[in-house]
């Protein structure tokens, strides 16, 4: 117990700082992947074949690529080969590249979440929208998507939860986040290995489990009554 408390004295500030990085990665990547994912979903349900093909290709490629490769690509290719500099600050540069990687990967899943939401919208809704003279985009914006988002709460929540956990893969993108710190701590204090793991693991449980409950609650509260 004494040893565990001394660990907090030594690493406490860095633990919080690193975990805060994971939460920041989650925040920015979720906003970005929601925007990109929605655009892709609109492409995939649109009447224009070339846009549909692009959306489908995007989803099939990035949903089937391991996130680890995308993150490694960011650091070894975008930065290593093409010298991508989004920021003059070395660490902030990797942070931003990691956000791009997380966004590209999760946008494919977000797109599919929206599409599954679109599938919950009854055909009559689209027909009614057409009957009152709405074109594809107005119908999508005013009738289909508002219902689709509400029907897609659970899959969107799953994307968010996966994203929170996947921010740890930013370790492969040279970001100073919690899994890298956990590795350092366990290597340094192997006698406390189990406690260190449980501490970091519980930090995720504390974030992820309530979000899961919130998602379930929201999905019931916002469900479209039919």
């Amino acid at each position: 117990m004494q040893g565990y408390l001394s660990l907090w004295d030594e690493y406490g500030a860095r633990i919080m700082e690193s975990f805060w990085t994971n939460l920041q990665l989650t925040f920015w990547a979720f906003i970005a992947c929601a925007i990109l994912g929605t655009i892709l979903a609109i492409m995939r349900i649109s009447p224009i074949p070339s846009l549909r093909a692009f959306g489908t290709a995007y989803v099939n490629i990035f949903r089937n690529t391991p996130l680890t490769i995308i993150m490694t690509f960011g650091v070894l290719v975008l930065f290593g080969v093409f010298q991508l500099q989004l920021s003059s600050d070395f660490n902030f540069n990797f942070f931003q590249i990691a956000i791009i990687g997380l966004t590209i990967y999760h946008a494919a899943f977000f797109c599919e979440a929206i599409r599954s939401g679109v599938n919950t919208v009854p055909l009559g809704q689209a027909e009614a929208a057409r009957a009152i003279g709405l074109g594809f985009l107005p119908a999508a914006r005013l009738v289909i998507l508002p219902q689709a988002f509400r029907g897609a709460i659970v899959p969107m929540g799953n994307v968010l939860i996966a994203l929170i956990k996947n921010t740890t893969v930013a370790l492969a993108g040279s970001v100073a986040e919690i899994s890298g710190l956990m590795k350092t701590m366990i290597e340094y204090r192997a006698d406390l290995g189990v406690l260190i793991f449980l501490t970091v693991a519980l930090m995720f449980v504390v974030i992820v489990v309530p979000i899961g409950m919130l998602v379930t609650w929201l999905s019931k509260k916002l469900a479209v009554a039919r």
């Binding site: 995939r44 349900i45 649109s46 009447p47 224009i48 074949p49 070339s50 846009l51 692009f54 099939n60 490629i61 949903r63 089937n64 690529t65 391991p66 996130l67 680890t68 490769i69 490694t72 690509f73 070894l76 290719v77 290593g80 080969v81 093409f82 599409r115 679109v118 599938n119 055909l123 689209a126 027909e127 057409r130 594809f136 119908a139 999508a140 289909i144 956990k165 996947n166 740890t168 893969v169 370790l171 492969a172 899994s179 956990m182 590795k183 366990i186 290597e187 192997a190 290995g193 189990v194 260190i196 793991f197 970091v200 693991a201 995720f204 449980v205 992820v208 489990v209 899961g212």
Partner: protein, 275 residues
Amino acid sequence: MSAPKQSVLFDAPGPKAKRRILLLNILGVLALLGLLAYLAIGLNSAGQLAPEKWNVFLKGGVWSNFILPGLLKTLQAAAISIVTSLLFGFIFGMGRLSHNKVIDWVSTIIVEFFRAVPVLLMMLFLWIMLARSGWVQPQDSPFYAVVIGLTLYNGSVIAELIRSGVHGLPRGQREAGIAIGLTRGQSLRLIEIPQALTAMLPALISQFIVILKDSALGYIINFNELLFNGKLVGTGNSNMFQSLVIVAAIFIILNFALSKLASVVSSRLSSRGQI
């Protein structure tokens, strides 16, 4: 499955709409070609399309020494993890369906915990601790860490799948089982879970894709799988871009084939009629 449903989001186009769609389609094609051209020109001016960067992959040595052994390790880890995850999922799925409150609670806590913890954390922890514990050869520690980490996470997801699958079955199935004199456990094992598994087969195959993809996390803990070896090729031949593209392409092809299998199974099952 979803395709015919979605096409009705817009009406059968009339002559005016047809022209508009054609115009937008041409613009879309042009924009995509522009994007491709932009990428190609960028890559070319950075020297990344030079033949010598790609020719490396025409040599047998690169494949026989790096790519194929790495692929073999990836497939091995994934295959073993699939089997152990199914076992784990079966045991804890039964646990969550148990009428014994203690077993139910313990299973729930284990399943919820491992579903909420990032796989990478488990792998890092297991990797370092296994290497130090002396239970496995230190050089084998990454492999065990990958397999155990994947099993704990995906096994928990499968346990949930089995539980929700059994809950989705008509009540009559269990009642019939009990009526012919089976115990609760026998009815679960012999009647309910086999049906739940069949109904859950597409979701199960999707989970196998997750296992295959997440095995690449082993790269971070120095497991000599496909991505790890691909990086070695890239470092050795200074063609990191090309190597990672090849590795990604192999993963995409494998996962795409698995996801096609999932949709074939799913359409077979849905055309099989009510169970």
